[in-house]
Symmetry: C2
């Protein structure tokens, strides 16, 4: 059965290899450089361990962006620079974080302040109170007694997720990738609803602060074992300020606090959160760099590749999306080291503000190629052959999403063929969402995201404090860099641009937000 499937898969490969010629010698060179002389671990170490977390517009982001620019220049890339993509908001960084149980006994808690949370007024010791729901009515019911207290809210669930299943998994080799489901971005209506939700969220926190609450704790019950998922609140945006300290604690710690209060035990916490704000430069930045095209006819045309450089703050953004940045930087290094002379210009772009709504890539697309809201496109839009994105962790590539661009299928199939032994054979027409290729897709530029082995991305590292270097799979990333280098090279060299879908309607997907996501 499995043999039969393999034979069926190989037939189209053979047929199509004739339609889309591939420079096999170059493919071999790329494979050797990518798999045997990889710099992935070194790039990963500097991007994650040395630069640290890269929250949009934070000092850590800027530091990392400068390091990327410098590294690209060292490799000999042209036009390496930080490029502003628009207004983001205030810069924030954490400078102190301490939370411990003080009563009924001392024990430090596993906790992380939410991004863009304000600090405490110095070190505090405060009782904890339990709200049944986080609403203005529930707050008012507690009356003046809430003043000076740390607030928790009854958890929706009080059981840990099971530990009987492995956190890390891979696709089976027999997976039919053509059957992957479509995953769409939120649509304008959904986002509008979320806008209302955020306004309520903001109002209730302002109410808590007005009543004198010292802090608000939450837990994301997806976490366990010391892994916590601390995201952020959009207080970076103009007109918003963090009403009170907001800290995510481990599921185990939250459930313990909840049980203690439920059984009427007095509970006190020690807490000290320090944060630094800066409004000197509220612009957001991407990082770009190029290997210029060498063909007089085609060098104005561009092949783009990227991932997002910004990360959440409680890890070092190793898999989200350090992995994408590391792999795409390595692609540029491989191509530069091999001294390729691409016909088209190859441009890497590492985006800021992805976690706040694909802001960096959208700002870039809007500036250079046009606004999907009205589909007024620039001349430049015609010159981008394709954009390749990697943003689903550090798992190896199993294939590619066509985003309904059926004409690209046979081309990609022939490009994957030399790497079939590396486990990358899947082509699906499906869309995948939630990352930066959508900004390109929205203005009619072919934008693609690769299919990747899941590893522990969804279960452990995505937006968590465990998104660190040690959770990267180096061998998987070497495979990814090798295959993407081939894709980028082939895109830069083939006689024609990549086929395009018909121009989309003015996008029902939302990028330009008049409220902070």
């Amino acid at each position: 059965m499995r043999t039969l499937i393999l034979v069926l898969l190989l037939i189209p490969f053979c047929l199509l290899a004739q339609q889309e010629p591939v420079d096999q010698a170059m493919m071999q060179k790329i494979r050797t450089e990518g798999l045997e002389h990889s710099q992935i671990p070194v790039i990963a170490h500097y991007l994650t361990d040395v630069n640290g977390p890269r929250l949009t517009n934070s000092p850590g982001y800027t530091h990392a962006a400068k390091w990327v620019v410098q590294t690209l220049k060292q490799w000999g890339l042209q036009n390496a620079a930080m490029e502003p993509w628009g207004q983001f908001g205030k810069s924030w960084s954490l400078t102190g974080s301490y939370l411990a149980l003080k009563t009924p006994y001392y024990q430090p808690l596993i906790a992380y302040p939410k991004a863009w949370s304000t600090g405490t007024k110095g070190p505090i010791t405060a009782p904890v109170v339990l709200l049944d729901t986080l609403s203005e009515a529930a707050i008012d019911k507690l009356g003046a007694s809430i003043k000076g207290k740390i607030v928790i809210v009854r958890p929706r669930d009080t059981a840990l997720v099971s530990n009987f299943k492995p956190f890390a998994t891979r696709y089976a080799d027999t997976t039919d990738f053509s059957k992957l489901p479509d995953m769409y971005m939120l649509e304008r209506d959904d986002i509008a609803k979320y806008g209302d939700f955020f306004q309520k969220l903001y109002a209730v926190r302002k109410h808590l602060a007005a009543k004198g609450a010292a802090a608000l704790l939450n837990a994301n019950l997806h976490g366990r074992d010391g892994t916590i998922f601390a995201d952020g609140r959009m207080y970076y945006a103009k007109g918003y300020t963090s009403p009170l300290p907001e800290v995510t604690v481990s599921t185990e710690d939250m459930l313990r606090l909840y049980r203690l209060l439920r059984s009427s035990q007095p509970v006190q916490l020690e807490m000290n959160v320090k944060a630094k704000w800066d409004s000197t430069d509220t612009k957001g930045y991407n990082v770009v760099g190029e290997i210029p095209g060498t063909d007089n006819e085609l060098k104005n045309q561009v092949v783009m590749l990227g991932g997002h450089l910004d990360s959440w703050h409680s890890g070092t953004g190793a898999t989200d999306d350090g992995a994408g940045c590391i792999v795409m930087m390595e692609v540029m290094r491989i191509l530069k080291t091999l001294g390729v002379q691409p016909k088209r210009t190859i441009r890497i772009a590492l985006w800021g503000g992805e976690e706040q709504g694909l802001l960096g890539s959208f700002g870039y697309v809007k500036k250079h190629y046009g606004n999907p809201a009205d589909m007024k496109l620039t001349a430049e839009q015609k010159n981008v052959s394709a954009y390749y994105n990697l943003d689903n962790g550090s798992g190896k590539i199993r294939g590619i999403y066509l985003q309904n661009n059926e004409a690209a299928g046979p081309i990609f199939r022939s490009w994957l063929e030399p790497f079939a032994d590396l486990g990358a054979t899947g082509i699906t027409s499906s869309n995948t969402g939630s990352t930066d290729h959508l900004s390109f897709d929205a203005v009619g530029i072919p934008g693609f995201q690769f299919i990747q082995d899941p590893l522990e991305y969804e279960t452990k590292t995505h937006h968590s404090n465990m998104d660190t270097y040690d959770h990267l799979s180096m061998d998987d990333m070497k495979q990814a860099a090798t295959i993407i280098a081939a894709f980028v090279y082939n895109t830069a060299m083939r006689p024609e641009m990549m086929p395009r879908k018909p121009l989309p309607q003015p996008s029902r997907f939302v990028f330009d937000l008049d409220f902070p996501l």
Copy 2:
């Protein structure tokens, strides 16, 4: 095949049920009380969440011991009391714990001071230095530059354990439990070697302190995802003092520190550890309580059951060995609630000092029954029918280790028979080690430990910061309490004492230690 095995298993059950009569009506009552009216979650909440960690001789231990005594008394048990078992050493408790990366960027670390570590001299900010090995020569090689520094040592391994396997598992129902391997305690020679090892460990830390090092960090690479395994150093013992602060950090944090130093990045940490010592009472305590026997002939005979009340300090000792204590307390509650009138006295004993070498149970055995070192036994020794222990996490019971007491096998088989539907059918002749039944076994008293489903005990909770309430499996513990209540009842009621093995030789296993373990 599976049916055949079942048939083969059932034959001896049928035969033996006639040899060892069981009060089926009482078994049904125990089952109903244990499974349908369980107090396991409540006992667990108070023992773990409310009382907190129970490090031997710490204020937390004493607080929990008093709570157990009070609870046993409330249930109507007799002679409930804390009973000293001998000298332990100084009392220690943690009152502050903070560790954060300061340079190259700020990020709090997941860290826990080792038990019996001294504190820092207030909040400190200090550079980190890397030792290749932890030896006096390596320390001297760094010279005066080590003064004021926080020291880490090159990790033996730099890869995380795999996440592709589940952390929690169960025995398959088809497991042949008779084939479980023997697990022995360390022998006298091994322990003597460990004594030498500890003296070296102590000397090198004193050397580090003498050279002015500010602290020593370590990691147990078994941990990942925020789970850390922070054990302790035996500085509680008379004549020893903690030379400098020792803190366990997460594997991910340690490997990051190591990589940063290896690539010559300057690294600074912020640190604040506070500990409290007390030498007012250096004795160690067990907790005991009884349901007195009612048969004039047999009431001087005793059935004992227990687990260890002491725990490590970074969790709340929920599975090690809160689970054993919770289950054994519940056994007493079930029997008391059912108003049983046992022929023999039923005595629960929750031990202190288990983690430091079975100290509490051995002290108890030595005082009441004799010293295994010379086998001079007391008259009381003859009156203990059996001791039942539970100390392998919160997994349900799958059977029992005979400790080579073959004559007990048919008896236990008939006692397990009414609970075959609960998954407890296994009998193995094998020994299992490392816990308190060995203290009884060493003086010829039948001591037994149950076979339990592993769950995540070895992989996640055993001695870790995740040894907390939420990692207990309540349904498993209800099953265990039900079966053990039946065993205890049957032992108290059967006409004869439990059969004994021939008296052992003066023990080659070590209990009386002239150095701190």
